[in-house]
């Protein structure tokens, strides 16, 4: 009897053990359906992003991030507006020299649609920024409709997004489309696809991809419409940070766009709106020594020690640290730039004292090549004044001189003897030439030269003919720099390329035409 019950007990133990184990094991895995609903830790799903004012502000910062850093094959090199704007625009012109291989493809116009990544990523990252701007506008609209935020609190953010959308498309027009004034030319009349809807997933992507390039004038209309809407939505800058977009930036950029449209009266009207809001600093170096607090900068992109376009993109790194972009003898020797001009001084120009690059000239506007904290200038008041000066000169208004001198006189060693007077320039061509040349001198390293080359093709007064003749690729000799003695082009220097050559405009990248048959049919001429 005892034996039997002992056996039974052990059998019961076994049953208990087996069933208990079964219960535990099965119950721990039975609710596998929720176990499979795993949410990511590193990122947030799209549905929750535009649900509160704080999150919307984060999305605004995300949009600025796309302007500041971009995604250049996985690295943030400042495409489009953190550094590439300045570097690519200047490398297309003749006032800066590419000293090694870094920007050679752009500098020598040796581009193709796939391997020369500088222009490929210019397209890719600019549209990446445009999409973030569109998603922000749509997200804010949805949140306002749902009552999660008020229109008053978020209109400003929409204005910032509209500004980025406008200047991004305008930037693409400068490189991929014919100049506005060349209507009926041999260059095709294609603008750039103007994207106004955001894409977040496969379904929206397919819905939004049916776009074409339209015409150049249609694109300009949309750029100005966005800038007007931005102006209406944004508050004035006042003393707020220069690292965000305010109404004044939209107005300033309209002077640029209208200059390209040759709408001289429009340029003057816009520029007049900024009277009294900004002023030209007494020392030309002040905007560079004091990025955040100077009275001239209207909008600049912020860079910090832990967040900047890196050693492979940051303006200080390329111009001063790695010496990959030099000031060209072409502009250095220009006779309209006085030899004792303050802009040739050591605070604005870096000239190594020893080594293989001794006595060559590099811009010192971007000074921090260790931590790369210099801001990237997008527009400053000096440009607005020079735009207005040119518009006034072309309309025969003699008050252009006040604007020109406002920008120029602060850099002169001796204003009383060196300033321009009403009698210095007698013909309109001379006047406009003086203004355009002053812009070249004033904006070295700021990415403004290409825009002027592009808009002045076949101009009636100061025509450009295409990509200009440039100094050869490589480090200039110290003996090439002679203020006042114009540089004479010789063997080895890069020949001018007429605007009818296919290289005047960049090709739409292969990665775009391969994915988009509509654009493939609208590729630029010769590519």
């Amino acid at each position: 009897m005892k034996k039997y019950s002992f056996k039974l007990n052990s059998k019961l133990k076994n049953i208990a053990f087996g069933l208990g184990y079964l219960v535990i094991a099965l119950s721990s895995t039975s609710c596998s359906d929720d176990r499979l609903d795993l949410q990511p830790y590193n990122s947030i799903q799209e549905e929750t992003i535009f649900s509160s004012p704080a999150l919307i502000e984060q999305a605004v910062m995300g949009m600025y991030n796309a302007a500041q850093r971009g995604d250049y094959a996985g690295a943030g090199r400042g495409y489009p507006f953190g550094a590439a704007y300045h570097q690519q625009n200047d490398m297309r012109g003749e006032d800066m020299v590419n000293t090694a291989t870094f920007y050679q493809a752009t500098y020598m116009s040796a581009i193709n649609g796939s391997a020369t990544l500088n222009n490929v990523y210019y397209w890719l990252d600019t549209y990446r920024l445009i999409n973030r701007a569109n998603l922000l506008i749509e997200g804010i609209d949805k949140a306002v409709t749902k009552g999660l935020v008020t229109a008053a609190a978020t209109n400003r953010f929409k204005g910032e997004a509209l500004f980025f959308r406008a200047i991004s498309h305008f930037e693409l027009l400068k490189h991929f489309s014919r100049p506005y004034q060349l209507t009926g030319s041999e260059l095709y009349d294609f603008g750039v696809p103007y994207m106004t809807k955001g894409s977040t997933d496969l379904q929206t992507a397919l819905a939004n991809s049916d776009v074409d390039r339209e015409t150049v004038s249609a694109s300009y209309v949309k750029v100005l419409a966005d800038l007007d809407a931005a102006e209406a939505a944004l508050p004035s800058k006042g003393t707020s940070t220069v690292y965000r977009i305010w109404k004044d930036a939209a107005i300033a950029y309209k002077t640029i766009v209208k200059l390209h449209k040759r709408d001289w009266a429009g340029v003057i009207a816009e520029a007049n709106k900024l009277d009294g809001k900004f002023s030209i600093e007494a020392d030309p170096n002040t905007p560079w020594a004091n990025n955040a607090g100077n009275k001239e900068s209207i909008f600049s992109i912020q860079n910090t020690a832990t967040n900047n376009p890196t050693v492979n993109g940051a303006l200080a790194s390329m111009n001063r640290g790695r010496l990959l972009i030099a000031i060209s003898p072409v502009i250095w020797n220009n006779q309209m730039w006085k030899a004792d001009d303050k802009r040739r001084g050591s605070d604005m120009v870096y000239s190594p004292t020893a080594g293989a690059t001794a006595n060559r000239k590099y811009t010192n506007k971007y000074k921090d090549d260790v931590n790369r904290t210099d801001a990237s200038p997008i527009v400053r008041y000096a440009e607005v004044l020079l735009n207005r000066a040119e518009a006034k000169a072309r309309l025969g208004d003699p008050t252009y001189l006040a604007d020109l001198n406002a920008v120029r006189n602060r850099s002169l060693a001796n204003v009383s003897t060196q300033a321009y007077t009403a009698s210095t320039f007698t013909t309109m061509a001379d006047q406009v030439n003086a203004i355009v040349t002053e812009k070249r001198i004033e904006f070295i390293g700021e990415g403004k030269r290409w825009g002027d080359i592009h808009r002045l093709i076949n101009d009636d007064l100061v025509p450009t003919t295409g990509i200009p003749q440039k100094f050869k690729n490589g480090v200039p000799l110290a003996t090439n720099y002679n203020p006042g003695t114009p540089y004479v082009f010789g063997a080895g220097d890069i020949a001018a390329i007429p605007y009818t050559d296919r290289r005047f405009l960049w090709p739409i990248p292969d990665v775009e035409v391969n994915a988009n048959p509509k654009l493939k049919a609208q590729q630029n001429k010769g590519w």
Partner: protein
């Protein structure tokens, strides 16, 4: 009455600790081991006693490169002195891995068993990185230091019920399994740049020794739940039938498409066990016919591939959020359907065995990144999609025999060969998908219906214009176009009148062709072993062929900037009277884009990837049994092995096996290793 029988349980575990001293093997990094060493100028020394470091280094401003020595120009692309970098940078990691299993079960009856099993695999990798402050990739930032920790845990729970009973000659086995698997990766790193002194880099991040702090981390996880039923039946060990079905739910797919059903069935007939075969048994000792069908799903598709995600995107020092992944809410299971028909033969008491198989493997709803128009601004311009289907079909043969089988001499030989054909059978929209590498810098391949997946795709090269040294390519219509090496402009080319100027022409995407398939059409191995008394000698020979490789390493060694070139450049075109090999164009500095067509594949760099490799030769000696047993061991053998011994190939690169998807781009070669070892059993 239910009688609970014996319990059984099992615990096993393995602990692995592994220290790894590594290299930067990034394909385009300035200090990448292969990228850098191939490009070093051949006429500059490694060391220079006149510099502070003792190495040949030229430093100016924020630029530090290998020194030019007696050259008039500095090496291009900022290439550093790789020996200094190798000796002074640190890439170490310490891996601790624990793999353990525990199961316990009950025998409910003698034909019904239940078992519960739990397994875990936890690997912890602790890493330290230092990019030296004095020279190399860390120079511009004042030295970069980082410590990181990656903790990966995968666990697996299974409940199994097994029914195993024989009814006369019918043997039945039914298994039911419920399984859940989960893995999680937990990563954290900290460090910074701007070191006070090189001294503080050697130990990884040291508190307060660097000025700019960086830190971060990431967590990812995925899970799979499965329900499986397997049924095995055989009759008298002559007729075999196996069927199974499983239902799997994958966390990485959207809710609507999460679950998939995957059946399989196989049949076999061991003919040699039949009564009518017994008479020829001594000769034909084994004959089996088999056929099978199975459908499986692919779980290796990324962690959250279908979601639209917003991630961190800072502006200045402010945090921000932006779209970082475009999602696809329609993503569904990628499945593979396999058919196999085979026959096995055994002769002379299985002294000679042969087998042959014919297989078809259809992949459906293949999940790949599909390019979308960059106008849309989707991150990476890619969205994960089920892009199409492909088919692999082929035949396999294998044979094995003991040629000599005596008491003190055994010689065994085996061989196998497979012939495979791969073809893409469907693509979404029917349109081609281009395949790019190196962050889209190189457009190398194409996925197109009717072709092998990721075939090489680019322009077909004709040769060099003997009059001016320009490279010449074929257009789609067979006409020839030359590219001006100086300006990049295309003009027509007439082979019978090479000096003629030619009219303006173009070479566009429509002129690209399929340049070759990257998947081998045949491969196999041959192995042999000889055992004579106490010596053993074995060798393994592998072969593979029928595939092409795009040799971009070779292309970059013909680059036109101031870095090293291979000896192939000596055969370039130099003048009409010295036209070189007719294949290598003229040289002009900085014109790689025009002379080598950088960024687009051309047939000039497409090579045959066939090879025969003697991969493994081993020679061993075992001490005599009685000697070994007297010391208390059961076996003691010493051996020496050569691995990666010899390659026979026409491929001009270092190793034809080191292509990734058919492209050789600065890949790191396998070393030939000679090792000596011993086996001891107690």
């Amino acid at each position: 009455m239910l009688i609970i029988g014996q319990k059984f349980s099992y615990i096993s575990s393995i602990l692995i600790i592994f220290d790894y001293d590594g290299l930067n093997n990034n394909q385009s990094a300035l200090s990448g081991a292969m990228y850098n060493s191939l490009r070093q100028l051949p006429n500059t020394p490694i060391y220079d006693p006149k510099t502070p470091t003792g190495y040949n280094i030229f430093t100016q401003g924020t630029s530090s490169v290998v020194g030019p020595w007696k050259n008039n120009a500095i090496i291009a692309n900022g290439i550093s002195n790789i020996v200094y970098v190798l000796n002074n940078n640190m890439y170490t990691s310490n891996l601790t891995r624990f793999i353990g299993d525990v199961y316990a079960g009950v025998k409910i009856t003698d034909w019904l068993k239940y078992r519960a099993q739990f397994g875990a695999d936890n690997s912890i990798t602790d890493g330290r990185l230092y990019w030296n402050k004095v020279h190399g990739d860390g120079f511009a930032s004042g030295g970069i230091v980082e410590g990181n920790n990656l903790n990966m845990l995968r666990y697996n729970i299974q409940n199994m019920l097994t029914f195993d009973k024989a009814f006369g000659s019918h043997n039945l086995l039914l298994t039911l399994v419920q399984e859940f698997q989960h893995q999680r990766s937990n990563y954290i790193f900290g460090g910074g740049s701007g070191l006070a002194d090189d001294y503080f880099g050697q130990g990884g991040p040291i508190t307060n020794s660097y000025t700019v702090q960086t830190s971060g981390g990431s967590i990812t996880e995925s899970a799979l739940a499965s329900y499986i039923a397997r049924f095995n039946y055989n009759f008298a060990k002559k007729y075999f039938l196996q069927a199974s079905v499983r239902r799997d739910g994958l966390s990485q797919l959207p809710y609507a498409n999460r679950w998939g059903t995957f059946p399989g069935v196989s049949v076999g007939w061991t003919v040699s066990n039949e009564n009518f075969m017994q008479s020829i048994r001594p000769t034909l000792s084994d004959l089996k016919l088999r056929a099978s069908y199975a459908k499986v799903g692919n779980t290796d598709i990324g962690n959250y591939p279908f979601m639209s995600l917003y991630g961190n995107a800072r502006y200045g020092d402010a945090t921000g959020l932006a779209l970082i992944q475009g999602g696809n809410p329609d993503l569904k299971w990628e499945t593979s359907v396999k058919y196999d028909y085979g026959v096995d033969f055994g002769f002379f008491n299985n002294r000679l065995t042969l087998s042959a198989d014919y297989f078809i493997n259809d992949q459906n709803d293949i999940i790949l990144d599909r390019p979308v128009s960059p106008l849309l601004g989707i991150p990476n311009n890619n969205i994960r999609q089920n892009i199409g289907a492909s088919k692999n079909s082929g035949i396999e043969f294998s044979a094995n025999t003991d040629i000599i089988k005596k008491s003190d001499l055994v010689w065994n030989v085996g061989a196998n060969v497979s012939f495979v054909k791969n073809e893409v059978t469907a693509l979404v929209d029917g349109s081609d998908i281009l395949y790019n590498i190196d962050s889209n810098r190189q457009q190398v391949g194409i996925i197109r219906i009717g072709e092998s997946i990721r075939s090489l795709y680019g322009f077909e090269y004709w040769g060099v214009n003997p009059a001016n040294g320009n490279p010449v390519y074929f257009k789609a219509d067979g006409s020839l176009v030359q590219q001006d090496a100086m300006t990049g402009a295309y003009t027509t080319f007439n082979a019978s009148n090479p000096g003629a100027a030619g009219s303006a022409a173009s070479l566009v995407a429509a002129d690209k062709k399929i340049l070759g398939n990257t998947i081998p059409k045949y491969f196999g191995a041959f192995n042999t072993s000889v055992k004579y008394k106490n010596f053993d000698l074995g060798a393994l020979v592998r072969f593979s062929g029928g595939n092409k490789i795009l040799n971009l390493t070779r292309r970059d060694l013909l680059g036109m900037d101031f870095t090293n070139n291979s000896t192939e450049i000596l055969n370039r075109w130099q003048s009409p009277s010295n036209p070189g090999d007719g294949w290598t164009p003229r040289v002009i500095a900085a014109r790689s884009a025009y002379i080598n067509m950088d960024g687009i594949a051309t047939s000039r760099f497409v090579e045959d990837g066939s090879f025969v490799k003697i991969d493994n030769i081993t020679l061993g000696y075992s001490l005599p049994k009685d000697l070994v047993q007297s010391i208390g061991m059961s076996q003691f053998r010493i051996f020496t092995t050569v691995q990666n011994a010899f390659i026979f190939t026409k491929y001009t690169g270092i190793d034809p096996e080191l292509e990734i998807n058919g492209v050789d781009f600065n890949t790191v070669p396998r070393q030939r290793t000679l090792s000596v070892g011993l086996n001891a059993s107690f």
